[in-house]
């Protein structure tokens, strides 16, 4: 099978590059192993949340320029960063991912454990501190679901009270939820979201309305377990409940993250893109300095050929990178990696400190072409978390790196063709 561009990895970086190319009418195939860090995303994206001293950043576009030279942002013209970031937000919007936020000023999202944290873009229905500050009075009710253990109303209340809000703590229950609770491990976000449709959604709305009847809160905060897939569900709930509703993210597999990813994938398919879902790329065929084809575990000897390839396989968690006891490797193409050579310098004893090994990744040239034995592969680009220098953990730049490098590479491929 032959395509103009094949993209390996369908996380935020891979699917964004795929959309960008498909929007230009390109013939694109996207190979997805089936899981993505997006499924744990809490409905917010970071461009740059923290600077090098781990201080919160208020203006991401200004702070991006002060990143160390190894960071992927430094491969962009400083003046173009704003444009790329705005392009990324536009791409999301076209895919139906409606967000608040902008590149000039971070806003504060509220994490599943109730901490306020800088973010670039947040799904419209998901709670932000700024949105709550718009309320006519600083009084909210946080509505937990009986027996649902991955939502933390008391932790969220502690954070909001510090910000001057009065918080009522309420718990909703009804026979639908009781039925779900019969099994000891069914009360998880995805399972609750699954029953939140039709009459059950209406009954849930009525239960929320009833339990909050005596509260004078200006808005309700519910766990993000309503299907965000279409706008209908949350609008429907709001009508029944009869006051402002916000959703706060839950811990673990996260409905807002899944919703974002689903919309992006659907948009790509609607543009005529080809998806190989549940395929793992296991080998590759090179001709001199060019990649000719890749092979997946599901297609036997049927080669997937393309003029250009984009590797968006992610970092260690997604197995785009693999650490052996002594080195960091990229296991499919054996691309060059940059990693601290001395294993004793890989780690910090504080897991949340800067872990030098997390900064390792694929070495690329100035156009994001991956290096192999020191030479750029002419038609293989690397984007997103697998890039060297993209230690997105310590500065919350993961989503920004994914989107900006994906768009930059897609635009370059379009330009060269």
């Amino acid at each position: 099978m032959k395509f103009e561009t094949i993209i390996i990895g369908a996380g935020l970086a891979g699917v964004s590059a795929a959309i960008r190319l498909a929007e230009q009418g390109k013939d694109v195939a996207l190979i997805s192993a089936g899981r993505s860090a997006m499924h744990f995303n809490s409905g917010s994206l970071g461009l740059l949340g923290f600077d090098n001293n781990h201080q919160p950043v208020s203006s991401p576009v200004e702070a991006m320029e002060s990143m160390p030279d190894s960071h992927p942002y430094k491969r962009f013209e400083a003046a173009s960063l704003t444009e790329f970031a705005d392009n990324a937000a536009d791409l999301l919007r076209r895919a139906g991912v409606k967000t608040v936020g902008n590149v000039r000023e971070n806003h504060m999202r509220i994490t599943p454990l109730g901490l306020c944290r800088p973010a670039w873009l947040t799904l419209e229905q998901v709670v932000t501190l700024e949105a709550l500050k718009q309320l006519e009075r600083p009084h909210v009710a946080i509505v937990g679901i009986a027996g649902f253990l991955d939502f933390y109303p008391r932790f969220i209340a502690a954070a909001l009270e510090k910000e001057g809000f009065r918080c009522d703590l309420l718990t909703v229950d009804n026979p639908d939820l009781q039925r779900l609770r019969k099994s000891e491990s069914e009360m998880r976000a995805a399972n609750i979201a699954r029953i939140m449709e039709g009459d059950a959604l209406t009954r849930f709305g009525e239960s929320v309305r009833d339990v909050s009847r005596d509260s004078e809160a200006a808005a309700l905060i519910l766990p993000a377990v309503v299907n965000f897939d279409g706008d209908g569900e949350s609008l429907h709930l709001r009508q029944i409940v009869g006051r402002d509703l916000f959703y706060a993210p839950t811990m673990g597999v996260s409905i807002p993250g899944i919703a974002m990813h689903t919309r992006l994938m659907r948009h790509f398919l609607s543009l005529g893109g080809r998806l190989f879902n549940g395929h793992r790329v296991i080998s590759a065929e090179f001709n001199d300095d060019s990649l000719v084809a890749v092979y997946t575990d599901k297609l036997d000897d049927d080669a997937l050929r393309a003029d250009n390839f984009i590797f968006a396989g992610g970092s260690f968690f997604s197995r785009g990178l693999v650490a052996t006891p002594d080195e960091v490797i990229e296991p499919i193409f054996n691309l060059d990696t940059l990693a601290p050579s001395d294993r004793s310098k890989w780690f910090d004893s504080d897991l949340f400190g800067v872990q030098p090994v997390m900064n390792s990744g694929i070495a690329v040239d100035h156009t994001f072409r991956a290096l192999r034995s020191g030479v750029p592969v002419k038609n293989l680009y690397a984007v997103g978390a697998s890039l060297a220098g993209a230690d997105s953990l310590s500065n919350d730049s993961g989503a920004g790196v994914a989107l900006l490098t994906a768009i930059a590479v897609a635009d370059r491929i379009i330009k060269l063709q």
Binding site: P112, L113, E184, S185, M187, S349, F352, S392, G398
Partner: protein, 539 residues
């Protein structure tokens, strides 16, 4: 300074198996007991070993006395601590590189020590334990087993309490109350309440604090010379073997592989370490290498099994009193009445020994205490009397849910006290280890639990293959309802994750590094805990 009203017959220092066992024995003999632990129960060597129910075979050739003690206690623990013991059986295997002639010496020595030891055909050994190195040329079957030191210690604490003992955790003994040449009590620091100082008085103080006994003796003005010997171990992600596998040779590094619950453990190394290092044991790359290399010889599939974490404990080796140079090590139990030895009244040290002989150590210490108090008539019953949870199960209560089954495994007959009437009680917090909301509530109310680490030690929460990915937040929220201190429990989650990281770091490659990155991302970037200051290590 606060002073406890009650005057005790005996204060026992140390919440390991020995201290808890001594408190239980004293309480069963009718003494008024206070048990004091610096941090949490099982914080020291009790919680950092193989979890092996030794048959004694390991010591049969080199140390007959220890071997005999082990097999006697082995048989006693099977009776009194049934719920803490796994009857796995054990093999001592001979590999082509070992001397097969040693096998007969080994069997003869075992039998002389009273340990059943039977040579079996290597083919039968392979059949009974498919994970064993198929190249083995000899195998001897012995009555080894597994023992859960966390459950064992808690059962002793619970029984001590049932018989009137008072128990304080997070209370560190900083000094003694002393009149002339008599110890009359202790001064404690309450780590949980801003370091408040507390006094408690007693006729006798028992120092049962493992390696830290050296320092506690020093504070009392007597010398008990100890040598810290570090032992490193690796935990693997699943139960590779069902029978304990040992090497049939003189005891050496990494020659015991023990199955326990859902995992298995290879160990150990043995290295003298400086006393200053005992509170911060870290496993080195060299130790990981030797444990893996030798472990693979016992069970080759360990080479491809995920290592969950590495940890190290400190054996309290004691210098023999009869060697003025202090260089020779006493192998067995050391019970010192400091009145006889040093002219210091009211102070007893119990040390040396092994987890296997904790009960016998407790018996000796309690005998000494009773003699000093003139209560010789109070007889020891701990060799016969089952521990709470290990009484015979009535057959009419078959647990229905997974969580209920797992909690019976952990708490034995006491699991009947775990709330399970509503769906919310039965909801699983930790899916790997099947810990329910009810079990956590039970632990908070009954088992001295107020942080995640206490909870892990009592319930195995967060010990499974996911290493506490989501369950610890759920558990932290339950803990928070009892003290309404959000910041403490958010900090607790951060510390717990870092504590796991400490164990993963020596083996952080492959899946472990992937998991660590995910954890750092989920708890750091997504949940936002990275901005909390790294607080003091959770104890």
């Amino acid at each position: 300074m606060k002073k406890l009203d009650k005057h005790y017959d005996v204060i026992v220092i140390g919440g390991g198996a020995t201290g808890a066992g001594t408190a239980r024995d004293c309480a069963l003999r009718g003494l008024k007991v206070l048990l004091v632990e610096r941090f949490d129960f099982t914080h020291g060597a009790t919680g950092r070993n193989h979890g092996l129910l030794h048959s004694g075979a390991r010591y049969a050739v080199t140390d007959r006395e220890s071997a005999t003690e082990c097999i006697e206690e082995n048989m006693i623990l099977r009776r009194i601590a049934a719920n803490c013991v796994g009857d796995t059986g054990g093999f001592f295997i001979t590999l082509p590189e070992d001397d097969l002639a040693y096998q007969q010496t080994f069997i003869d020595s075992c039998r002389a020590a009273g340990i059943e030891a039977e040579a079996i055909d290597p083919a039968l050994a392979r059949q009974l334990e498919p994970s064993v190195n198929p190249d083995l040329i000899g195998a001897v079957k012995v009555p080894d087993g597994s023992i859960d030191p966390f459950r064992l210690t808690m059962a002793n604490v619970l029984d001590a309490r049932l018989h009137g003992a008072d128990v304080l955790t997070y209370h560190e003994v900083t000094d003694y109350i002393r009149t002339g040449n008599r110890i009359e009590g202790v001064l404690m620091l309450d780590h949980r309440n801003g370091g408040e100082q507390i006094q408690a008085t007693a006729d006798v103080v028992v120092n049962a604090s493992g390696i830290w006994g050296h320092l506690l003796a020093e504070k009392a003005g007597v010398s008990v010379k100890m040598f810290p010997a570090k032992g490193a171990l690796l935990v693997f992600g699943h139960r590779v073997n069902n029978i304990v596998i040992n090497r049939c040779r003189k005891p050496a590094n990494a020659d015991i592989l023990v199955p326990g619950d859902t995992v298995c453990v290879i160990g150990t190394t043995s290295d003298r370490v400086p006393f200053e290092s005992v509170d911060r044991m870290e496993v080195t790359p060299e130790e990981v290498d030797v444990l893996l290399r030798e472990g693979i010889k016992l069970a080759p599939s360990l080479a491809t099994t995920r290592i969950l974490r590495a940890y190290a404990g400190v054996r309290p080796l004691v210098a023999s009193d009869d060697d003025p140079s202090g260089r020779s090590i006493s192998r067995g139990i050391v019970c010192l009445d400091h009145a006889q030895r040093d002219g210091l009244e009211g102070f007893v040290t119990i040390t040396g020994g092994k987890l296997m002989t904790y009960r016998l150590m407790a018996e000796w210490a309690t005998d000494t205490v009773c003699r000093k108090l003139g209560r010789e008539n109070a007889k020891c019953v701990t060799a016969e009397r089952p521990l709470p949870g290990s009484e015979q199960q009535s057959s009419d209560s078959t647990p229905v849910t997974a969580g209920a089954k797992a909690s019976v495994g952990r708490h034995g007959t006491l699991a009947a006290n775990i709330p399970a009437s509503t769906g919310s009680d039965r909801a699983l917090v930790c899916e790997c280890e099947e810990v329910s909301v009810g079990e956590i509530e039970y632990a908070i109310k009954n088992l001295h639990v107020d942080n995640l680490l206490n909870l892990r030690r009592r319930t195995r929460l967060g010990m499974g293959t996911c290493q506490g990915q989501l369950c610890i937040c759920r558990a932290a929220a339950i803990l928070e309802k009892h003290d309404s201190c959000v910041s403490r429990h958010l900090g607790g989650i951060r510390q717990f994750v870092n504590e796991r990281w400490k164990g993963m770091q020596p083996v952080a490659w492959g899946d472990n590094l992937a998991e660590a990155q995910f954890t750092a991302w989920l708890y750091g970037s997504v949940a936002g805990l990275d901005v909390l200051p790294p607080t003091e290590e959770m104890k």
